[in-house]
């Protein structure tokens, strides 16, 4: 009489079972092992290459949040990207919207961004804040607040009084994404400015990486 292993329930023959029935039982074992190994392969693929995307823009553009958008560059942000360096999960479509990275899998994502700013004219006292917007923070998921844009990641870089040719600003944070919620905004990169005397700014390069790190619930 065929018995079954625990916990996976793989069948095996026991004493008294007919030898001629062995192929049938064997086939069941092979098929069940196949299914479990396939599932393990999926786990391996997931940990080896999680959903992640890296986008970048190397074409300089003028940024001024107080001016209306130009024809080609929305000076009000978020920044448009012009290259996809990697995208393991179809998270980026520059032709549809060059400003966003949209995860397709729920979870917590490590998001990092950077921007290079050509030396602003105002110099000392400038203050820039780089934002990565998008996703939802766990504590704000409710019907009242779902419609709100929630932005975080905040790094301030005061201008060095000594001469600088380029300012480098970066921001990093863990962000929550839930595919079951309506998408208000996907991941975007934007800049806040305190000293308007330094405007407009020339952004010489910017980029953003969004990488899945954990399932959404535990």
């Amino acid at each position: 009489m065929v018995a079954y292993s625990q916990p996976h329930g793989l069948p095996y023959q026991t004493a008294g079972d007919k030898r001629r029935d062995a192929p049938k039982v064997w086939r069941q074992v092979a098929d069940m092992l196949e299914a479990r190994l396939n599932a393990a392969d999926d786990v391996r693929r997931r940990v080896q290459s999680p959903p992640m995307a890296v986008v970048r823009r190397t074409a300089p553009f003028v940024f001024d949040p107080f001016q209306p958008p130009s024809e080609t560059i929305d000076g009000d942000g978020p920044f448009p990207f012009d290259a996809v360096l990697i995208d393991t999960d179809g998270m980026v479509d520059l032709s549809a919207d060059a400003r966003v990275v949209t995860p397709r899998v729920s979870g917590w994502y490590m998001a990092t961004g950077y921007v290079k700013i050509a030396s602003p004219s105002a110099g000392a006292g400038d203050s820039f804040t780089l934002f990565i917007r998008g996703g939802f923070d766990g504590q704000y998921i409710d019907s009242q607040r779902m419609s709100q844009l929630y932005g975080y990641n905040n790094v301030i870089n005061q201008a060095n009084p000594s001469a600088r040719s380029t300012y480098y600003i970066t921001a990093t944070s863990m962000s929550f994404w839930d595919t079951s919620l309506p998408v208000i905004t996907a991941f975007q990169l934007d800049l806040g400015i305190v000293n308007t005397g330094s405007l407009p700014l020339t952004i010489t390069e910017c980029g953003m990486a969004v990488c899945w790190v954990a399932d959404p619930y535990w």
Partner: protein, 204 residues
């Protein structure tokens, strides 16, 4: 004997019971090899490739000097590195890279003077080194030790010729005219940790 579609696990036909022992050996050998491969790969992915570098000695310098490359050495790595005295991503893929630097005046602290630390990723071309990526942190004197840090993500592209040889520097500068600045041993730290290969489509 036939095999399953993807894992190629052997099983006998219904009228083929003469060589069961041999088939069983085939099945055990194949399953063992696949399980070994899976466990190895998953262990490697869970124990995320990571390397940490620090300055092993105190560093002290005046405001007139700028360190483009602080001397650091590896203090931890769970992957094989080509060099131990400067940081390199050991293989392609997405890397999270960051630094932390602590700067203290050895004497007079100049009010309002700046402290700056940066991280630069260099690549190579036929004409020399090029700056591939850079992040920095700037702070101003606040009465004592200033801590500076920044982190970023960088994709090492196996198909980009400028990425064939990469190294990472952390630099430091300050405007403390009243005295030199010291970075004590172990307080200039550079780290890099692996995020994934980036070349496989991941769907669940």
């Amino acid at each position: 004997m036939d095999t399953t579609l993807r894992q190629k696990l052997p099983y006998p036909h219904e009228d083929d019971v003469g060589a069961l022992a041999l088939y069983m050996q085939e099945l055990a050998t194949r399953a063992d090899a696949r399980l070994h491969e899976l466990v190895q790969d998953i262990q490697a992915a869970v124990d995320v490739p990571t390397a940490v570098f620090e300055n092993l000695s105190d560093i002290q310098f005046p405001y007139t000097a700028t360190y483009d490359s602080l001397p650091v050495e590896v203090v931890f790595s769970n992957v094989e590195l080509q060099y131990t005295t400067f940081a390199q991503p050991p293989f392609p893929g997405l890397w999270h890279i960051g630094f932390w630097v602590s700067m203290t005046p050895v004497g007079t602290a100049t009010a309002g003077s700046f402290r700056r630390a940066d991280l630069t990723i260099w690549g190579v071309t036929s004409t020399g080194w090029i700056q591939l990526h850079k992040v920095e942190c700037v702070e101003y004197e606040g009465g004592g030790t200033e801590h500076l840090q920044a982190e970023t993500a960088f994709y090492v592209d196996p198909n980009d010729p400028t990425h064939q040889y990469i190294y990472i520097d952390i630099g430091a500068a300050h405007g403390n005219t009243g005295s030199q600045i010291q970075i004590p041993a172990g307080q200039a730290r550079l780290w890099l940790t692996y995020g994934g290969a980036g070349d496989l489509l991941s769907r669940r």
